[in-house]
Each structure stands twice: as structure tokens, then as C-alpha cells.
Amino acid sequence: MSEIVDILISASFWAAVIRIASPLILATMGELICERAGVLNLGIEGIMVIGAFTGWMAVYQGMPLWGGVAVAMAAGMLFGLLHSTLTVPFGLSQHVVGLGVTLFATASASFAYRLMLPEVTSPPKIEPFQPLDIPVLSDLPWLGEALFSQTALTWAAFAVAGLVAFTLYRTPLGLAVRAVGENPAAVEAQGLSVTGLRIGAVMVGSGLMAVGGAFLTLSAFSSFFFEMVNGRGWICVALVVFGAWKPGKAVLGAILFAAFDALQIRLQQTELGAVLPYQLFLALPFILSILALILMSRRAEVPAALMVPYNKGER
């Protein structure tokens, strides 16, 4: 038991939690925007792969790091456009289209990788984002290491969460997005375009998912390899439910999941790790997340028009 306490009070543990949570926060905000507008985006897993790949490739080809982030965002928005074109004006099944986009995006990344680097055996490395040195704060004894030794992209993730919350609750645009996910007929009756709002929301959301993927290659690791997204997209879909479609609670959920993840890695190295099979530790964050999900989402208000296509003038 004392070992767990030791882990929980160590600064490196909390630094890891925030690092692991960052890509989850970015992609969760993306999914949350889509779902608030009434579109379930199961393309998230593949869009994160595309973001990880394009961001990394852009930097490898000589662009600056922030250029890589922009390229990832643009690539994500392109796949968002594909997803929303099929699901919004054409009203196709959001499950089928989402899974299709994930398969297509994942395969596109592999295909482009092989085309562009035909003779490479181990993926080349880039120079990733470095931890920002903040005067005074970074030098604080415990807090400095735990909270203030993060990269710029981590700060960006938290800033994005704040921006999404502000936009959703404080601007007429956010009002319209929330309304279109609840009752598109209300939006139509007020003279706004349901199609335009939904396509826009899915594109912006998909852009954020891709930046979440790019975090993996540009900030967490320094190269791209297949399977690196490894189910994070699906976790984000669950985190949106966990957060009851509210940005603040979703960020808390991401941090909670990241904490379980960071904890299980460290537990593997304790005496427990010698006794129990390591698969049990790997499963720990998922089991705890499911339990938390059950507790948290019981009173959630699902956007009423989630997954319901809107056909203008239908009787």
C-alpha cells in the first residue's frame, strides 16, 4: 500500500498524468463538438492516426513543429468533411460511416507511409516539442516538475478545452451548435442552416482529433509507428459520455483515465508486478474507467438529436 502512496505523491507521476491526458483532451474536445451538434464521429480513431502521421511527416519534410500541427489539423478537417458530407446531407448511418472513415484513414496513413518512405526499416525520428521552461513556476520544488515542465502542445490542449467551453456556453455560435444537436427543427425554424452547422462542427471537431493524434508524434514520442494510437480514439468516445457532454467534466475524465494509466505502469514495477500477470495492470485503467463511467453517466443528458439525421421538409 505504501508503494501506491509513494507513487501518488511523486512529481514525476503527475507530470506523466498530464502528458498522457493531453492527447485525450484534444481528441475528446473534438468528439464532444461533433456530438453536441448531433453527429457521432466514430472516425476519431482513424483521424487520430492521420493526424499523428501527417503532423510527423510534415516536420520530417522540414516544416516547423507548429506547421506540423497545422498540417495535421487540415488533414483531420478533410476527413471530417468526408464524414459529414456522408452523414449530414446524405443522412447515412453514422456508425457505418464512422467506422468506414476510421478504416480508410488508418489505411491511408499506412499507404502514404510506405509510398513516401519505401526503404526505411525503422521509422526516422524528428526533434519533438520540448518542455517549456517557465520562469519561477518551473523552479518550484514539487509543482515545478509535476505541472510546469510540459510542452507547448500540452498547454494548447488545456487552452483548447477552455476555448471549447467558452464557445459552447458564451457565444451565439455555441448556442446554435447545442441547439442543432438537441432539436434541429428549432434551428431551421430560426433561419439557420442545420447542414452548415453540423458540417462545420464535424470538421472543427475532426481537426482537433487530428491534433490529438499529432501530439503523440510531435510531443510524446519523436517518430511515427503503426498502432501508436492504440484505441485512444475509442477512449475519447467514452470520455464524452463520462463527461456528460460537458467540456469541464470531460477534461476531468481524461485526467482520471491518464492517472489510472500512469499508475498501472508504475505498479508493474513494484512487488505486485512480480506476482500478478502484467495484462491485469494493462486492463486496470479500462476497468476503472468503466466503473467510473457507470457512476458518472447515470444522470447525463444526451443530446436529443444525436445520431438522428435531419431531412428538411420531411413529413
Binding site: T171, P172, L175, A179, E182, N183, A185, Q190, L192, K312
Partner: protein, 510 residues
């Protein structure tokens, strides 16, 4: 509310025609509306009233014809242009987002998407609700409001956008008589301030009460346009249905034994709709028991208990004096309880099944199968029997039921329920959304069942229907059941007070 003959024309619909496939919903409809005037658009369900208004508001594009507002032509298919021209519409099904506050619903779409101009909106909403007598709290979540309050929000939405022409699509369908009165008061204030109103309805007494002029639609055509001062209800009804109106009225008969008794039953509240509170009800042979009330006041919970979908959590249920050991839908059917469900599309039928399959839904395991094999020949013969016996107009028993009109669908469901010769018939909103011919048919069948000794529980929001058919009337409000009132002892206004819940307090005090 008196629009003078010479007043300015604010709205002109000119020879509007709209087709949906083979159906012509509007056929050359013209209509003018003057300043300060209330024009009623009257017609049966399916006469084309809502279609016409949706064209005016830009939800549909007309195939022919044009719309002019204040002398300017309105571009077709553009709600934004209609709003900008000063046309406000209160839809039959409210277009409100339940997760937003009243204020947010009203503001939606009135500002640039990136501006942040909260200031002034609240004051304007508060001023409008004062001026027009539309009391509702700006910060309340719409999802938690009552139906009457939601309607006020819809009207505020239109007024907030400075609407000069207000279209109300069947506004009183969901209101108690008292709420309707309040709505009429609001409309009188509005016309006094120079607004014009189109009031869509099929309730004649309301049209006579509020409208200056009345345009009658039948099968998509204008069949009459009359001053309400120069006509009466009977004449309007005749115009609406194209002949004399004759709905069945049941004559009083002596009631028989108690077939089903519910005593002291309470159920938990379910979301916004209240559960039953100590409800005691007897269903007697040879009697139609009418259950009046605005929907969502516990009728669904009561219907579930009668139909076997739920066991009372508290209190007792007995059939023929005995308490059943198990109480499930199958058990209820086996004991002679027949059901005409509230929602024929979702509870009463399976849209993509054909008529034969739908006809045997309640008996396929007992009457139409042996040792696990379906007897399709018997099933088909049964369906054909219903089609003939109940005048279901359809190409044949292998037609998918979704292709039938509401009336014919309901006749099949009625035939299915009556085929077993039930003792107890649960008829939940049996004629909602049907045309007059089908209404008369379904109601006469219920009376016939009563006359051969069945106990009928008729649940309806339509007071005329309840008062016309029931031998005894109960009213439900907030899960409470009023005492039974014998036929002819209560006026609609008195029942309205019970529906609004005001009489219950008095009854408890006494």
C-alpha cells in the same frame, strides 16, 4: 380584433399548389390576411392546412403559386426570409431545444454567430412577456416547462423577432380549456397592437370564439370563406366534411357487474410525468368509462396497468373479483383484455410487416401456431376476415402496413382487438389523427362492443369525444383521479377545472 374591410393587406397567398408524389396537398389555394385580423384556417386532418403554412414559412417549396408579405414577394423555401419579412410561426410540434433556457431558445439565430450581445435580450423578453401576458421565466430550462409554457416560449420567439404576422398551427390541441382562454387573451392583445394572426384549427367553437374570418380547406382546396359573425358551427362543420356531420352519440344504458377493479394504486413518477396517486377505478360491463385529461398526467401509467404492461407497485388490481397471480400483457390478453394502443405506429403495429403479420401479432403463439410452427393459412384467413369485416381499404393482406392511412391502420388494430370478443377494451386515444369517417366508424364499434356487454375504458384528450361517448367520466390530473361523473352531469368548463387540477384541492378539503 376587428380587421376592417379596408385595412392594409399584410399577407397574400396566390394560387398555391403543392404535390407530394400522387397526393395533391394544396390545390390552387389563395388567401389574404389584413392588419389586425384573425383568420382561421379550418379543415380536417389531412386537408392541407399545415402544408400551406409550411410553404408560407419556407419549410416546403410550392410547386406553383406565390407568397407576398406587405406587398413584397417572398423567396420560396427560405425560413430566414420569412422571418425577416415579419412572419412568425408557432408549429404544432414545438421547435424548441429542451437543453437550453427560455432566453437561449428565443435568442437562437438572432445574433451574429460570434458576437456576444446578451445585453438587451433579457429586457426585451421580459417586456414582451409583460405586454402580451405571456408569463414564463427567462432562465428556466425549456425541457422542464409544461406544454402551455412551451407554447408561450414559441410565441415569445416570434414576437422577439418583431413578427407582424403570427401563424399558430393547432395551438389549442395540447392545452386545457383555461390555458386556451389565456392564449385567446394574448391573441386579442396582439391584434389590438396591429398584429395579424392565422389560426389553424379543427375545433369549431374555438374558431367561432377567436376568428374574424374563416377559410375552410377540404382535400387541399378552399371550399369556403365566411365571416364568423355570419355563420354558425353547423354550417362550418358541413363545409369541412362536405356534408352533414354525424358522429355517433351513445345513449345511456344500465351498467352491469364490475369486470376490473383498481384500488388504491400508486406508481412512481417517471421523469416529468407524474405517477398514479392512490387511484381507484372500476370498469363495469356494458359501460364506457371515459378518462379525460391533458396527456402526460398519468394516463400512460394507468393504461400500462390495465393492459398488463406493469403491475401496480402499490395497491390492488382485480379481475372479476379475483386478484391475478401473474399480470403480463399475455395474461391480460388471455383474460379478455383487448387493447387499442395510444400510438398505433409504435405500439400498435410493426411498420414493415404486412397486414397478415400485424393481424396475428397478439395471437401468433396461441391461436395461429402449433408445436412451434406458424399456421399461415389461418393467419391469412384471419387477416382477410378483419379486412372485410372492418372495411380496411388496402390492396390485400400482404400489403405492408406502413402504406396504409392512419384510419385504415386503426381499423385493422380495432379488428384485431375485437376478434377475440373481449370483456374489457382499453381504447387509448383511439381516434387521434383520424378523419371524420374513420372516427365515426371506430366510435360506433366501441359503442357496439359496450352494447354487447363489454367494459370500455376510453382515454382521450378530446373533451367532445369523452362527453359524447362516456357513460361515466373521470378526469386525471397530476396522477390523481377525480370521482366518476355520470353522463350529462358536467359541462366542459367544469371538467376543464378538474383537468387543471384546481378542483382536487377542494375535493380533499371537503
Amino acid at each position: 380584433m376587428t380587421g376592417e374591410k379596408g385595412a392594409e393587406v399584410v399577407l397574400r397567398l396566390d394560387r398555391i399548389t403543392k404535390r407530394f408524389g400522387a397526393l395533391t396537398a394544396n390545390d390552387g389555394v389563395s388567401l389574404t390576411l389584413r392588419r389586425g385580423e384573425v383568420v382561421a384556417l379550418l379543415g380536417e386532418n389531412g386537408a392541407g392546412k399545415t402544408t400551406l403554412m409550411n410553404i408560407l414559412f419556407g419549410h416546403y417549396v410550392a410547386d406553383e403559386g406565390s407568397v407576398e408579405v406587405f406587398g413584397q414577394p417572398l423567396p420560396p423555401g427560405n425560413p430566414r426570409a420569412a422571418l425577416a419579412a415579419g412572419v412568425g410561426m408557432v408549429h404544432q410540434h414545438f421547435t424548441l431545444a429542451g437543453n437550453l433556457t427560455v432566453l437561449d431558445n428565443i435568442r437562437l439565430g438572432t445574433e451574429g454567430l460570434w458576437s456576444r450581445s446578451d445585453a438587451g435580450a433579457r429586457e426585451k423578453v421580459e417586456r414582451l412577456s409583460r405586454d402580451f401576458g405571456l408569463a414564463v421565466h427567462p432562465d428556466a430550462k425549456v425541457g422542464r416547462l409544461s406544454v402551455g409554457e412551451r407554447q408561450r416560449v414559441e410565441i415569445l420567439k416570434a414576437l422577439y423577432r418583431d413578427a407582424r404576422v403570427l401563424i399558430l398551427d393547432e395551438p389549442t390541441a395540447v392545452l386545457t380549456p383555461q390555458e386556451s382562454e389565456a392564449l385567446f387573451a394574448t391573441l386579442r392583445k396582439a391584434t389590438g397592437l396591429g398584429l395579424s394572426v392565422i389560426f389553424i384549427s379543427h375545433k369549431l367553437h374555438e374558431v367561432m370564439a377567436i376568428a374574424d374570418r374563416c377559410v375552410v380547406l377540404r382535400h387541399g382546396r378552399v371550399v369556403g370563406e365566411v365571416d364568423t359573425h355570419a355563420t354558425d358551427k353547423a354550417a362550418l362543420a358541413a363545409l369541412m366534411v362536405g356534408g352533414e356531420l354525424s358522429l355517433p352519440r351513445a345513449e345511456a344504458r344500465a351498467a352491469g357487474a364490475v369486470l376490473m377493479r383498481i384500488a388504491g394504486v400508486s406508481t412512481p413518477n417517471r421523469g416529468a410525468s407524474p405517477g398514479l396517486k392512490m387511484v381507484t377505478l372500476e370498469l363495469r360491463a356494458g359501460q364506457i368509462t371515459g378518462l379525460a385529461g391533458v396527456s402526460g398526467n398519468g394516463q400512460a401509467a394507468l393504461a400500462e396497468i390495465v393492459g398488463g404492461l406493469a403491475r401496480p407497485a402499490e395497491g390492488r388490481l382485480s379481475l372479476h373479483g379475483q386478484e391475478p397471480k401473474v399480470w403480463t400483457p399475455g395474461e391480460a390478453l388471455a383474460r379478455g383484455v383487448a387493447r387499442i394502443p395510444e400510438d398505433r405506429h409504435h405500439q400498435g403495429s410493426i411498420a414493415d410487416f404486412d397486414l397478415t403479420e400485424n393481424a396475428v401479432l397478439e395471437g401468433y403463439r396461441t391461436r395461429f401456431s402449433r408445436r412451434g410452427w406458424m399456421n399461415w393459412r389461418a393467419a391469412r384467413a384471419f387477416a382477410e376476415g378483419i379486412i372485410k369485416g372492418y372495411d380496411v381499404r388496402c390492396p390485400g393482406p400482404s400489403t405492408r402496413i406502413r402504406l396504409l392511412s392512419g384510419g385504415n391502420m386503426q381499423k385493422l388494430i380495432l379488428g384485431r382487438a375485437m376478434a377475440v370478443g373481449p370483456d374489457i377494451i382499453l381504447a387509448n386515444q383511439p381516434v387521434r389523427g383520424l378523419d371524420v369517417g374513420a372516427i365515426a366508424y371506430v366510435q360506433s364499434q366501441l359503442i357496439a362492443a359496450r352494447d354487447r356487454g363489454a367494459a370500455v375504458l376510453l382515454i382521450s384528450e378530446d373533451l367532445d369525444e369523452i362527453m359524447g361517448l362516456s357513460d361515466i367520466i373521470h378526469v386525471m390530473s397530476q396522477g390523481r383521479l377525480s370521482p366518476g361523473f355520470a353522463r350529462g352531469t358536467m359541462t366542459a368548463a367544469e371538467l376543464g377545472l378538474w383537468m387543471a387540477g384546481q378542483k382536487f384541492e377542494g375535493a380533499h378539503a371537503a
